[in-house]
Symmetry: C2
Subunit: 373 residues, 2 copies
């Protein structure tokens, strides 16, 4: 089915915008944060907790699910929504990034990529076409094509070759997708830190034509300024009428900056990864729950937060749970962190609708940068 994306508000001071992305299964209000459920579960959280926290969409990873439990099991279950009991939208990452970062002994050629599983060493061959097939089996609402991602720093030559292959694969992905036209297919802009390559990549993808565009290959170790520059540059090269998804970003300050630069969609493992380690995001900055200063602190993680964790538990109790290695501790902090990110986006959208995004961003960052616990 055709996707519809409407930009409802554009900010006067920045490139920020608020919109609605409508798809067959439901719609998304943007800017949106997508909690990451790599292996068909957002780590430590249940689907009902995600819905309660306000998640509109979950991100899953085709590479991981292809290896475990295997595409066939999920297809037989009626797709990923039924398999993990998630009624809302699903975006699946193709796993291009994982093939390059996790797998062993990979051999990349224009046809596709041969690799050994990081789990058991088994050999696999993925092509742009088979990756679309996998995502069709998963029943994704938004699919990403197989792309070639380079690390930072990458030479111009290497980055250019990756762009060329990403374009080649994007075209083949689009053709494969067009056979069923299930879900929505995005293109992924690569080009490392080279503006001319980002421009080339964006133009080539535009000429293939996608319903949305992702900016990939960022947040891979480059300095923050460079990341912002690449987002800004790529966003300007992409059509205003399509959603822009900044892959793997990021911390609250990075998301706010990327929104300012015109990005609409975000995903990051940070809320749950930090949560498991006992780092909580609060309106006054990050705090380390194990910190001895909280042993008798009977305030919530974030007094400005309305989440289940903050309405019911004290820092003192959470610290006790982390000190004793109890699972409830990492569950509650993960929940709070996901809620915090989703709530931040809700406030971003409200500020855009009310024409006060720039001042919201300023005030949020000024409080957020107060301290580090």
């Amino acid at each position: 089915m055709p996707m519809n994306f409407s930009v409802i508000h554009t900010d006067k001071e920045t490139q920020a915008r608020a919109g609605i992305l409508q798809m067959e299964r439901g719609s998304l209000e943007t800017p949106v944060f997508m909690p990451v459920g790599t292996q068909a579960t957002v780590k430590s959280l249940s689907p009902r907790e995600l819905e309660e926290a306000g998640a509109q969409i979950m991100l899953n990873n085709a590479y991981h699910l292809y290896l475990r439990p295997g595409t066939e099991i999920i297809r037989e279950a009626g797709g990923l929504h039924k398999f993990m009991n998630w009624p809302k939208l699903i975006l699946t990452d193709s796993g291009g990034y994982q093939v390059f970062s996790l797998s062993l002994l990979r051999k990349i050629k224009d046809e596709g990529v041969e690799f050994q599983s990081h789990l058991d060493g088994s050999r696999h061959f993925l092509t742009p076409e088979s990756v679309i097939g996998i995502q069709n089996d998963l029943g994704s609402d938004i699919m990403m094509p197989l792309d070639e991602c380079v690390h930072y720093p990458a030479s111009f030559d290497l980055a250019q070759k990756a762009v060329d292959r990403t374009t080649l694969w994007a075209g083949r992905s689009k053709k494969e997708w067009a056979k069923t036209q299930r879900g929505v297919l995005f293109g992924i802009v690569q080009g490392s830190t080279y503006p001319e390559l980002r421009k080339k990549s964006a133009e080539e993808l535009k000429s293939i034509g996608f319903q949305g565009y992702a900016i990939g290959g960022i947040s891979v170790g480059e300095p923050q300024d460079l990341m912002y520059n690449m987002i800004s540059f790529a966003a300007r090269e992409l059509p205003a009428e399509a959603p822009r998804y900044v892959m793997g970003v990021g911390l609250p300050e990075d998301i706010l900056e990327a929104v300012s630069l015109g990005a609409d969609m975000f995903d990051c493992v940070v809320p749950t990864r930090y949560g498991r380690n006992g780092s909580a995001f609060t309106s006054c900055g990050k705090i380390t729950v194990r910190n001895g200063a909280y042993s008798r602190d009977r305030t919530p993680l974030d007094p400005r937060c309305d989440c289940y964790c903050c309405r019911n538990f004290t820092r003192s109790y959470l610290r006790h749970l982390f000190n004793t290695g109890e699972i409830l501790g990492l569950r509650l902090v993960s929940y709070h962190n996901v809620y915090f990110f989703l709530d931040l986006m809700k406030k971003v959208r409200a500020s855009l609708h009310e024409g006060r995004f720039a001042s919201f961003k300023r005030e949020f960052l000024s409080r957020y940068r107060q301290k580090e616990g």
Copy 2:
């Protein structure tokens, strides 16, 4: 405040009975299963999940909480109910068992027990009086006195000495409790596997006088028959008008047998411990979630169960979560197991109220013993 225990139904074929235990904070329908939250959390579950699963009371451990986070922190928080945000009843085990099983270099004398913490080697001295003080600080609804528990097998002489000390300490605990009369204090019958010692222990406790009686020192490695004999024997020696709590029991079949023998209260770590390891209790017996046979099994853990896990997730998905080491897997199976135990007790109570306990027990066990997955 005075506790009130009313036996509402007594079974005609067995010693089983259904009753109501009324206390200041609320009441309990018996027979009751008490989920174990040793360190102020039932492992992996949130308080709202416990309430949803039907828990009426949580068991916590004074020894563990005295060591971490320390009694003072919990007292300052307004007690354990507020500390862990649990509005329902709390029974605290004294930690007598833990002093004997976990602590290092313990020296026991009539005055009390000196030991080194199993966590950091710090030295502590607990007396019957200080253990009541700790439970007062915790704000327990039902307190257990410090007792001396022996392992199985124990010589008659050793078991007799433990009974003598348990009686001595029970008297001093009662005196200490009487100063504030907060909560309800139970006595603990010891005596290992010696009927004459069990009788002696019960009689001495009765002459001190408690509002409820626990049967301790069982489920410590003795054969099942011997355990049932000791429960049966001790129950007969205890006053019919007081609740009988069988400590640390047990598996569904053991609980049903103990109910038949006249026991009213139970606790066990089994539902959450098995849950973390991927063993699920079902109406047709235990199943091992990781079993390859479940990789494509789209039925719930237990088709007869109405819990959140069984209403929403398949064995195939749960197996995937365990295979990938995802926390949601152990959470869901722990939740299901706790629900299963609480639901079993609900059915036991209903069958007692309707005068069909013996046939309920027979039918349950016949289905439960069908298979082992």
